[in-house]
């Protein structure tokens, strides 16, 4: 059976095609302003990669903040449910997920049978999410994908004390003016985000085999800091950004069965 999963995120859109248990193809592109159009583009691309047509797909699952705007008939699922399914697909022995998205961040805990035991979502505040990190990259004029690596080269621990992203930005600008080395500021920013994420994970007492997903999981600086703060070894999947979409595809398959 062929199923597709769409994760319509605020920053990026992900689509996965699943053939029974196997990932046939996936696509990640940035969402832009039109969620529906992005989903369609991603779907078209992924179908082409897989060499199939939309009619071949028996069922579609969707998740993410834009799931209601996806232009396909689909089984909708919350990120909590889809992330869990996706994480367990890759790591059947895992017992939790940390998912850092563009505007959202969540921590999920499940038991050995795969039942969701607990979860925590961030509030509307953007600190501790991808958008915050992007804003900081702009303020510091570094490439987002290089931030993590640079932060690990810091020479001194400094603190970004403002929890609010707006205040944090002005705090960072004033550090730049005071000629604080960029790497140190980056380290401070990563610590600040990590402490928010750890706060969420702590609320549900998350520990053990925890998978970190979402595009940010590729940021080595953040993962390192999270491991330090949580005293853990987070599991980073090869394609952390498509785990949610994969979960949506699994959800679609389950419902079809």
């Amino acid at each position: 059976m062929l199923t597709a999963g769409i994760d319509a995120g605020s920053l990026s859109t992900k689509v996965v095609i699943l053939n029974q248990d196997k990932i046939m193809a996936y696509e990640v592109l940035s969402t832009g302003i039109d969620i529906g159009a992005a989903a369609k583009r991603a779907m078209d691309n992924v179908l082409e990669k897989a060499g199939i047509s939309l009619q071949d797909v028996e069922s579609i699952g969707s998740t993410g903040v834009g799931k209601k705007k996806v232009p396909y008939k689909s089984v909708q699922g919350t990120e909590v449910v889809c992330d869990t399914k996706g994480a367990l697909y890759f790591y059947p022995k895992s017992n939790g997920v940390i998912d850092i998205g563009g505007e959202n961040c969540r921590a999920i805990k499940f038991d050995a049978e795969g039942n969701i035991v607990d979860f925590a979502l961030n509030d509307k505040c953007a600190s501790g999410t991808g958008i915050f990190l992007d804003a900081m990259a702009k303020a510091l004029r570094v490439k987002p994908e290089e931030m993590g690596k640079l932060s690990l080269q810091s020479t001194e621990d400094i603190e970004v004390t403002s929890m609010c992203s707006v205040f944090a930005e002005s705090e960072v600008v004033s550090m730049i003016h005071r000629k604080v080395p960029k790497n140190n500021i980056l380290r401070g920013i990563h610590k600040s985000i990590a402490s928010r994420v750890v706060g969420l994970a702590n609320r549900i007492l998350l520990e053990g085999n925890v998978v970190i997903i979402g595009g940010i999981a590729k940021n080595i600086g953040l993962v390192t800091t999270l491991n330090e703060l949580m005293n853990s070894e987070l599991i980073v999947p090869e394609k952390p950004e498509v785990v949610g979409a994969l979960g949506a595809a699994l959800l679609a398959r389950e419902r079809k069965e």
């Binding site: 004390t161 706060g199 702590n202 609320r203 549900i204 007492l205």
Partner: protein, 368 residues
């Protein structure tokens, strides 16, 4: 080393006190808030240990308390979860505020290594029926302490303990009086360290040290005494950083109505043949904490301090989510403003956000 330094050293390393005390196998009973009578613990041959927090950020406790619980209490619970209070043979709390009540529930449920007990006290002062209620609770507590220590508490031993603790209070007050002068003999932060060290130490050791200290500093004059004279009040402040901040901004902190300072030693026990009754009345014949009723009592007491210490300005340090002091400061604000300028500050127990605080304190002191 001068005695002021000795006090600072004790304040910085309270663990030494515990080690010393425990050498002979004697027990230590932790407590929080003023309605747990230390004299009863002491009369049973144990060391009453006032639990203080640390400025460390909170880790595990946030999984248990919601972030809107008093930060001091969350901090204490964090330390308890982290087994930092493992040296205690028991922990005793009392009925002061919802946060402490929750601490009791949490401690009792999640901290297995140290048993926790709660002394129930009335929140209404001067009420004979409340005295009766509290007395019943204290009798139970006394029995508990006897069982824990294996020592009988007699009227004689209790009277002796009261005398000893009263002597500490008298000495601290005598030292505090040296701050009334135009140029105080001891600074606010020095005093807080001394007073907290005295609270932590066995009083048998604290009293001679305090006598020596009074002797050493009685002719001393602190530097930088030109600024406005400040009265500090508010939630529990267990770290001199905030006082130092006021001092750095040019304020002269001359008296602190804090659990770690004046509230501890301002009054002594009235002579009474029945020592249990003496303790009951010592605690219930005055309103020292914002949690208790009537409030007018505290207002009169603050007014007394303003006059006695020639105060130019009052600063309320309210720890975030400390409900009793948020109400008190809002209720007293207008009345106090008529006497002296009053600044109400919300502070983090973990001492973050000091930059903003500094700006506000500075503006206040410049205004004075």
């Amino acid at each position: 080393m001068g005695t002021l330094e000795t006090m600072k050293d004790i304040f910085n390393n309270p663990n030494k006190i515990i080690e010393e005390w425990k050498k002979d196998g004697k027990k230590v009973v932790g407590h929080r808030c003023m309605y747990v009578p230390e004299e009863i613990i002491h009369a049973a041959g144990m060391l009453p240990y006032p639990t203080f927090g640390t400025p460390e950020p909170i880790k595990k406790a946030d999984s248990y308390f919601q972030p809107c619980a008093c930060e001091f209490v969350r901090n204490l619970f964090d330390l308890a979860l982290d087994k930092k209070f493992g040296f205690l043979d028991s922990m005793v709390l009392c009925n002061t505020c919802d946060a402490v009540r929750h601490l009791y529930n949490m401690w009792d449920t999640y901290v297995d290594s140290v048993p926790c007990y709660m002394v129930n006290n009335p929140q209404k002062m001067y009420d004979e029926s409340g005295f009766k209620f509290y007395r019943m609770e204290l009798e139970k507590f006394k029995k508990l302490m006897e069982d824990l220590s294996g020592n009988k508490i007699t009227d004689e031993s209790l009277k002796k303990s009261i005398e000893l603790y009263d002597e500490t209070r008298r000495l601290l007050k005598e030292l505090n009086d040296l701050r009334k002068r135009d140029i105080p003999a001891i600074s606010g932060s020095e005093f807080l360290r001394t007073s907290m060290a005295s609270m932590l130490m066995p009083k048998e050791n604290a009293n001679p040290l305090l006598r020596k200290l009074i002797d050493e500093v009685k002719n001393r004059e602190i530097k930088n005494a030109d600024g406005p004279r400040i009265l500090l009040t508010g939630s529990i402040i267990d770290n001199p950083t905030l006082i130092e901040l006021v001092e750095d901004m040019g304020g002269v902190v001359v008296v602190d109505d804090l659990c770690t300072s004046a509230k501890y030693f301002w009054y002594t026990t009235k002579p009474n043949n029945d020592p249990m009754d003496a303790i009951v009345r010592f605690n219930l014949e005055r309103t020292l904490c914002a949690c208790a009723h009537p409030s007018e009592d505290r207002y009169d007491y603050l007014q007394g301090l303003i006059r006695e210490f020639n105060i130019d300005g009052i600063i309320y340090f309210n720890i975030k989510y400390c409900h009793p002091f948020v109400y008190e400061s809002a209720i007293f604000r207008k009345k106090l403003e008529e006497e002296v300028p009053t600044l109400t500050l919300e502070v983090d127990h973990s001492l973050s956000g000091l930059g903003q605080l500094k700006t506000r304190v500075q503006a206040f002191i410049e205004m004075l």
